[in-house]
Amino acid sequence: MSGGVPMSWYLILSAILFGLGVAGFIYRRNIITVFMSIELMLNAVNLTFITFSYSLKQVDGHIFSFFVMVVAAAEAAVGLAIILTVFKNRETLMIDEVSSMKY
């Protein structure tokens, strides 16, 4: 045991973080927090990429998580710009109150 950690632990940690992200996505009302929950899920996925990369002794997983980061950056830029616009127009960040397109 002192030598190392089973690989599955990393994966389970990733699953837990992913589940926390999902929970945040479902139960939180603030758009920004919801957005951050998505980032948490992306991070959890990145962890699996890195873990499998270690397991397979290939660097490709790192590349994937690198791309995930870059895309997350792009997404954050656009998403936060949208949030800013929403706030400017509606004076609210609560996701339930932005519902004029409903039905």
């Binding site: 962890l47 002794k57 949030i83 800013l84």
Partner: protein, 166 residues
Amino acid sequence: MTALIFFIFAGIAVFCGISLVAQTHPIASALSLIGVMGSLAILYLQLGGEFIAAAQVIVYAGAIMVLFVFVIMLLNAGAEGTSLNVSQFAKYAGIVLLAAFLGLISFIIQATLPKTESVVFGAWDGGTAADVGRKLFTSYLLPFEVTSVLILIALVGAVVLARKEI
């Protein structure tokens, strides 16, 4: 040593993750997320991904989350109210489903992966900046270039969206 570090930082990550979901104030959530990212960076280091660990801190914690914090501060977003206006389905099914999801996935991971494989710090160091760079600029050159275009598009889109007159 590896196990100790893993437990410490996995613990921090899970704690911060819970905090992200449980805190009512967005700033607190954002800081928790930064905590998750930091501890994940340490775990990446353990898994031999030194470049990706640095990138995690620079890009995620240092740039993306700064944007989040910045926006939260700019909008002066306060704590959300306690009333959970969650849809009926999500409210009741969510917890059960999440529990089932976690249980199942842990079960499958445990059942599928070979038990003997374990992570030892320093056992594989193929994730240096040189390795990642070599792969990125040879095998993944096209995706890399496409990503740069994506970033440009996002940049333009963000500028257009955030302009005063819209």
